[in-house]
Structure formats: structure tokens, C-alpha cells
């Protein structure tokens, strides 16, 4: 079984995100970039399936500038077999990403696509679902457990207020939630090996996909700074304020 894992290069989770001085976009110049944490979980899950003898080949895919090669190398160092970069300088919306991934699926013919449920930059939570829709495949989102059987996959999903267990036929799109697994530390020998694994680069234009933006950004703003707290004299005053001012009780 072949697995395709899309990975996105995002601002590292430990970096405090700021806007550019003109407010036009998030400032990603010279800040630490990493693989989207949910995608890391997706790569880890694919490797575990390979180690369990379920999967044969793992292909990591990223869409973006040449800089994205570093997250693909990370995926290769974790254990992916080969990598594909669809090169573009444009910032793509989830629909464009899903359309491109549909083309990748057409070329690679995987039985499973494991995506992060969302990227920590855009937080859109759409690409995986759109990809399944475009392919006409079943989708199992927010997976916290994934079992591959003879007839398909059994997926435990994290939903509001509990867990839902569903069965899907393959091929399918699975998106990962935080508790699916804990990604491993990459080993030094595997980092060394990763640079010898194949990494193909294809220009976005070669796919002939309409990736024009459908959305218009009206404005961006940093979260409002927290205002100073108020000291209350006693519990009675606290309760009064919660009731009358904050109106939370």
C-alpha cells in the first residue's frame, strides 16, 4: 500500500507570530520555520503503518517555494521514502491545495492520504476534506486512532463531547488529530540517509490547475493586548462583578 502525506512549512509553534509593520501579512521573514505539527503526526502515522508491514511506500508532498525542501527532508529523515515539491511562490488557498493534491493522487495512485487536520498558520481545516470531495473518496477527519484492516480502515475521531468510531473503505483521506501519536525524534543516521533519498521538484504550472485565489483578505490584526486586572476586596465583590459586569454567572 502506498501512502501520500502532504506536509506544509509553517512558522514554528514556539515563535510569537507578528504582523509585518505595514499590516499586510504575517511576518515570516527570518523566523524559525518547521513542519506543521499535525503533518508531523501524519508522517509518523504513515511510518508506523510501514513498520507494521501495512504500508509499502510513503511519499511526502509539499507545495511552496524551494525553502519547503527542508520540511520534505525532515519527512524523509523521519522515514518517508521519497518526496515531491510542487514549486510556487504563491500563497495558495485550501481549494487550490486540494486540487493539486488530487493531481498528485492521480499520478501516485495511493490507497491512503494522511493529512494534518489543519495547518497551524491558516487554521483553515479544509484541504483534507476538499481533497476527499474532489476525489470522491471517503474521509475520516480528526483521527486519534487508525487501524487498517482487510476491508478498509477503522478510525476513531475526536468530536465534540466524545469519540466517534467509523469505518471507511480505501482509498480514503484521513486527517490527524493531536492524540493520534507522538512523532519520534529523528535519528542522526536517518538525517544522513535522507539527503540521498529522491526529492523531485515540479513547477506548479506543469499541473495545469487553476489555483487563483477565491478569497479577498480585508484586514489583519494582532490579538488585542490584555488589559490590566482589577483587585477586588472580597468574594462578594468578585461575585457581584462576575454577575453584573462580566455577566458570566
Amino acid at each position: 500500500m502506498k501512502i501520500v502525506v502532504p506536509v506544509k512549512r509553517v512558522i514554528d509553534a514556539n515563535v510569537k507570530v507578528r504582523l509585518k509593520s505595514d499590516g499586510s501579512a504575517v511576518d515570516s521573514d527570518n523566523v524559525k520555520m518547521s513542519m506543521n505539527p499535525f503533518d508531523e503526526i501524519a508522517v509518523e502515522e504513515a511510518i508506523r503503518l510501514k513498520e507494521a508491514g501495512v504500508a509499502g511506500e510513503i511519499v511526502a508532498v509539499s507545495i511552496g517555494s524551494d525553502a519547503c525542501q527542508d520540511v520534505l527532508r525532515s519527512a524523509l529523515a523521519m522515514g518517508a521514502d521519497r518526496a515531491l515539491l510542487i514549486r510556487t511562490e504563491a500563497v495558495l488557498e485550501p481549494l487550490a491545495v486540494a486540487k493539486l493534491l488530487r493531481e498528485v493522487v492521480a499520478r501516485e495512485q495511493p490507497q491512503l492520504v494522511i493529512c494534518g487536520k489543519q495547518s497551524t498558520d491558516g487554521d483553515a481545516n479544509q484541504a483534507g476534506q476538499m481533497l476527499a470531495g474532489l476525489l470522491g473518496w471517503p474521509q475520516a477527519t480528526f483521527a486519534s486512532k487508525l487501524d487498517i484492516g482487510a476491508d478498509g480502515a477503522t478510525v476513531t475521531r475526536e468530536i465534540d463531547g466524545g469519540l466517534e468510531i467509523i469505518a471507511v473503505t480505501l482509498p480514503a483521506v484521513v486527517t490527524t488529530d493531536l492524540r493520534l501519536n507522538s512523532p519520534r525524534y529523528t535519528t542522526l543516521p536517518n538525517i544522513m540517509k535522507a539527503k540521498k533519498k529522491p526529492l523531485d521538484v515540479i513547477a506548479l504550472d506543469e499541473f495545469g490547475v487553476d489555483t487563483r485565489p477565491r478569497l479577498t483578505t480585508l484586514g489583519l490584526a494582532e490579538p488585542a493586548a490584555r488589559s490590566a486586572g482589577v483587585r477586588v476586596a472580597d468574594v462578594a465583590e468578585l461575585l457581584a462583578k462576575l454577575k453584573n459586569e462580566a455577566k458570566v454567572i
Binding site: 535519528t187 542522526l188 544522513m192 539527503k195
Partner: protein, 593 residues
Amino acid sequence: MTYQAPLKDIRFALNELAELPAVCSLPGYEDASVELVDAILDEGARFAEEVLAPINKQGDKGARLDGETVTAAPGFKNAWQQYVDAGWVGLRAPYEFGGQGLPALVAIAAEEMWCSANLAFSLAPLLTLGAIEALNHHASDELKALYLPKMASGEWTGTMNLTEPQAGSDLAQVRTRAVPQDDGSYRISGQKIFITWGEHDLAENIVHLVLARLPDAPAGVKGISLFVVPKFLPGADGTPGARNDLRCVSLEHKLGIHGSPTCVMSFGDQGGAAGYLVGEANKGLGYMFTMMNHARLGVGVEGMAVSERAYQQAVAYARERVQSRAVGSPDAAGVAIIKHPDVRRMLMTMKAQIEAQRALAFVAAAALDRAARHPHPQEKARNQALVNFLIPIVKGWNTEQANEITSLALQVHGGMGYIEETGVAQYYRDARITAIYEGTTGIQALDLIGRKTAAEEGATARALLAEVQATADKLATAGFASLSANLKSAAADAERCVAFILESFAAAPQRAAAGSVPFLKLMGILLGGWQLGRAALIARERMGEEDADVDFLHAKQVTARFFGEHLLPQVSGLAAAILHGADSVLELDDGQF
């Protein structure tokens, strides 16, 4: 997060100042590249931050000795297993025994992160690597085949058993005995002290390298041999077998690095521990010297690394702690103490020295790689001389200043810094040993004025001073007037001191020695300033590039200026003490102290 690897500055020092791309093109290092090193540093940083740093504080509670068994501090065994699984021990271990054989420059950058994250832990792999290096250079093929693969993987750890109660800095006093046996092995008996990670539960076997004397050995340094003495005697297939006749009899109660068990080791209480001669008899001390450059460079990095950790904590506290109105402000509201000029001065003093030390240590590591691998004999020799000269400076200056820098970090915290729970006191205590072990600062300074300066008639010292001058000239043209002037004046002082040492070393060695530590510090400050001068020139050039990291490059230039204005002026005071202060050091009778 309690530690964040300073990857930007590490990469700047590696790529721009220590010229990593050139090191990667040396024969035998073709597998290395800037991209590969980037990936290694990213993953190493993650390991240091997420696995090693969080257990540093619990390591401070120390290892435990029950009977002959030492249990490492909580979390250490698990961290070691993860470290081994990730293959980090092999970073600079030889390729033919399962390591990656990467350049010393790359290893040093990774080691900085291990040491910052957890100095006590980092000593286990560092000692193991030292033992690997010694065996790889000098042991027979049989010994190498038996021990090195297990050590390069980290399944077994290594130790250095040099010191005895009467033999500290002076190893000529070593008394441990080695008696030859019919089967070609030796029976080792004696007591060794200060054995770092001498006994522990991290690994299935511990390989002790032990200095001892054969029965017919000549007295003094020419009668010391080196032996492999494993805790468990390995069978031919490498499986640990019978327990050898050696044990840990006590753990030292130290000032710091409590997570690293410092053992008193007793060999041969039941008739003699089985040991195997490394290389030739009576050459043990010489063998120790072959790995000393890397070991001393490593300790210099330890000092800088602990300073970095303490600095990070001081910055975080200074940003958070609100206290007093801003000096001269009519607004009575308190401000974060990072706004107060003297707190800024302390933070800059730490930052400037750490960045200078990192640069100098990495430049020395690159010279170590060039000395080992450069195809042209002349370049090889030039770099070897450079390494030899820089090592005592990096070791001595970085670690002496680590005491000052960690003390400043504590000072930034005010009274809270003196409270152990705050955590910064641990760095202050941990740093203290670095100026002592692997040769005290005094030993480094004697090495610097003797073998490294006088013996070669100041050739390397003066070559470096010429480079400092050249950088100072460029700085003047580039608009760094004050830094340039400060560098030039410091270089002129240094030249006077070199001349004094050359002149006095033969005629009045006591007078040269009296100023040796000030000379070491002077060279540290001068060469550190030189590196920051180089950095400032590069930073100014890069500022104009597209996608330039303007913030970082601007800070680099200001940091260099600060170093020029606050640290380089110390050179003239040190020079005065070196040139004119020897007599008052020597004059009193011993009884007058």
C-alpha cells in the same frame, strides 16, 4: 521552554566566521554540507530543548550510591537511551566503527547545545568520545574492533582515569600499578579519584581508560602506560561477561554538576582488575595529549554553553520583572528591569562575550578540522599551530568568564537569584568546575606562554596580531571607528606583552609565569573582539541583501561595538599588570601570606 538553542547565532558563527562550507569540502568530509548541518542542528536543538533541558534541574539533586551501584539522577537513564537511539553519540565517532565521522566543527556546535541544556548529562557522551578518540588513535585493531562499535553507538560509555589523590595537575605522580600476565593482559590495582561518570546505570558496560605504571617503568611522566579496563569483560562476540575487579567506593560531594556522578574508583581490591595495554608501554601520557586539544576545546565550549543558558534565563527574568520607575522618568509606574541601564549593561556584557566566545571556539574547531584533513602540508601545519595557540585561550578565557557571566545572570535576578528554586544559581555552581578540570586556568596559561608562544618565538601569536590589525583596518573603512581604534590599541598592547614573554621566558621564567593568566585573558579579549569585528563587517555587508535578517544583523553590529567599548579597554589594564606587575607577585616570603 527553559532553553532555546541560539540557532541563528550558531549558524552565523558556523557558516560566516568558521567557514563551514570550506570545512565541508575537506577530504573525508564530503558527506557534510551546509544543508545537512542545518538539519542536524534543527534536530539536535529539538533534542536538547525537549529531552535534555527539562531534566537539568532534577539532575541537580544528584546521583545516588548504594553499595557499589550508582543510580543516575531521575530521568537521566531514559534520556541516555533516547540519546543513544537517536545516534547522537556517533556524530564525530569514526565512520568505520559505526559513527558518522562528521567534522569537529559540526560536533562542537551540537555539543554546545547538549552542554547548555544539561551540562552534567553532556559529560557522559563527551567522556565516551574522548575514550573513543584515544582508542581509535592508539589501540590495537583487536581492541578497537571489540570496543569501538559498542562505544560509538553509546551502548557502552567511556571514562578517563587519570587523577589520583597525589597526582592532580602533575600526572608524573601516578602510582596505580599494572602487572603483566602470561596471557598478555595486565593486573591493575590502585585508586583513582574524580572519575566523571565512573559508575552508573545508564549503559550495560563502562570502559575505563586507566593510566598506570608497569613494575619496571621509569619514574616520572615517561613511565606511564594507558590501559583499557572494562567494568564487565567482554567475550569475543562483545557480550559483557564476568565482572572485573573494580568498583566505585564513593561519590564526591561537589559544588555543582551534581547530575554527573564523580567517583572514587578502586581497582584490584581482589587481586587486580584485568586491563589491556593501549599502544606501547610507557607512552600513555603522550596518548592522552593527542585527544587533549579536542577535550580542552570541549570544556571551553562547556563554559560558553552554561553562560548561554544563564544569559537566557537572565533575559527572560529582566523582561518580566517590573521594578522601579525608569531612571529619570517623571512617570512613577514601575518598568521591566530590562529598561534599567545597568541591567542592560549586564545583559550586554554577557551577550557580547558569549557571542565572541562562540565565534572563537568555532574558529578553533575549524582549524582542528583543517589541521587534520587539509591536503596541503603547509596549510595543515599552519592550522595545527593555530589550534595549539587557540586551545588554551578558548579553554581558559571561556571558562573564567563563565564564572563572571553566570554570576552576572544571578545578579540580574537580585535576591531571587540567590534562592536555589529560581534555578539560575545552578548555572553559577555548574560553571565553576569548567575553569578547573581538563587543566586549570593556570595550567592553560603556562601552556600558552611556554609551548604555544615562547617555544615558537611568538610566530602564531604575531600572525594572529597581524590578522587583528587587518580586520581593524577594514573596520575603520567600514565606519566602525571606535571598534577599530579599540582593536588597534589592544593589539599594540598585546604585541608588547608577546615581546615581554619572549624576552623574559628564558631569562626569568618566573616573571613571565606571574603574568601568564592575565596574558591568557588579554588574548581572549583581543581575539574575541577580533571575531566580533569580523562579524560586524559581515553583518554590515549582509544588511543590504534582500531578505536580510535586519534585526539580527543590527544587533550583531551593536554587540561588536559594545565589546569594543566595554571589554577591549580591559586589555590595557591587563597589559600593565603583565609588563610591570611581576615583582610584587613574587616578592613576599611564603611566610608573609
